[in-house]
């Protein structure tokens, strides 16, 4: 289950500290077997360069999710991604977290959501992994069809795919890996 969006370029980054607060756990260097990066060069290009990495495990709680999202978005803003990219990343991240907490974990606070992010000047990669029962992506109705337009839900996956450069669901739908590459023009100033 993989989809590709527009724009595909690579880049390098520089190291920044990962952080966490409150009930959110962060392990800046401890990545799981399917974690992002894996080396200090993060972006995979030659010549060094490091990226900001984040790793959180949160309860299925919207407030905790908000904290995680704002930390990741602050790192993206620090890299001065264009406004359009910021909008896209904020939207996709919001949708991914809502899907994990509400639809994946069914708002069960005993279930956790693992979030990993790698932010470099050219790209952001995010992994969101819930503990729900999973889903089959092909079973999700197309919300743009006439008969589905008046339904009040079912647009999250579509928006993630539309706004991110790539989005892939694995582990039975429980794990989303998505990325956004910087737009062609860097932000002015």
């Amino acid at each position: 289950m993989q989809s590709k969006g527009p724009n595909a370029r690579g880049g390098k980054g520089r190291e920044k500290a990962a952080g966490a607060g409150g009930v959110v756990n962060s392990s800046g260097s401890a990545m799981g077997p399917n974690g992002l990066g894996g080396t200090s060069s993060g972006g995979g290009n030659s010549g060094g360069g490091r990226a900001a990495r984040f790793s959180f495990i949160i309860a299925s709680d919207f407030e905790e999710s908000r904290t995680v999202q704002e930390q990741i978005l602050a790192a993206v803003a620090a890299e001065r991604f264009p406004e359009g990219d910021m909008f896209a990343i904020r939207l996709a991240l919001e949708e991914a977290m809502i899907n994990a907490i509400k639809h994946g974990n069914k708002l069960d606070r005993e279930k956790t959501v693992r979030v990993e992010a790698l932010v470099s000047p050219e790209e952001i990669e995010v992994v969101v992994h819930d503990q729900g029962s999973g889903f089959v992506k092909s079973d999700v109705p197309d919300p743009t069809l006439e008969e589905n337009l008046e339904k009040n839900s079912g647009r999250g996956i579509m928006l993630i795919e539309a706004y991110m450069s790539s989005a892939e669901w694995t582990d039975g739908g429980r794990r989303l890996r998505m990325s956004k590459k910087r737009e062609a023009q860097l932000a002015a100033g």
Binding site: R66, L91, T144, L149, R155, L159
Partner: protein
């Protein structure tokens, strides 16, 4: 007369109830639920309700917010009412286009045009 009830501000012009979002992000589930309840109450106030939603302050919204708007649209249609959306910024409008909800809602460039479009 203006009534302020965060996260929306409600005013009335002739027989049109105008709702202006006061928060630039319509993302939070609780926030969205509160807005939805406010819209529902406004729709319940009268027969053939006319409701104008002003998005001038809105920079971000989620699919849950879209769902809330769809619920409001469905409810107002059941009461033979009219709903208009106005002053939607380009990035937000793009979300409506991508989801094809620009076909479902009557969206006008600004409040004035939206107010004039009621029948």
């Amino acid at each position: 007369m203006a009534e302020t009830s965060a996260p929306v501000s409600v005013t009335t012009e002739k027989d049109v109830r105008i709702v202006e979002f006061t928060n630039n992000k319509i993302l939070d589930e609780a926030n969205i639920a509160e807005i939805g309840q406010t819209l529902s109450s406004l729709i319940d106030e009268r027969t053939n309700p006319k409701l104008l939603l002003d998005f001038n302050n809105v920079d971000h919204l989620s699919s849950a917010a879209l769902g809330m708007l769809i619920n409001a649209n469905n409810k107002i249609r059941q009461k033979n009412g009219q709903l208009r959306l106005a002053s939607i910024k380009p990035q937000i409008f793009e979300v409506f286009v991508i989801t094809k909800l620009n076909k479902l809602f009557k969206i006008l460039p600004n409040r004035s045009e939206a107010a004039s479009s009621f029948t």
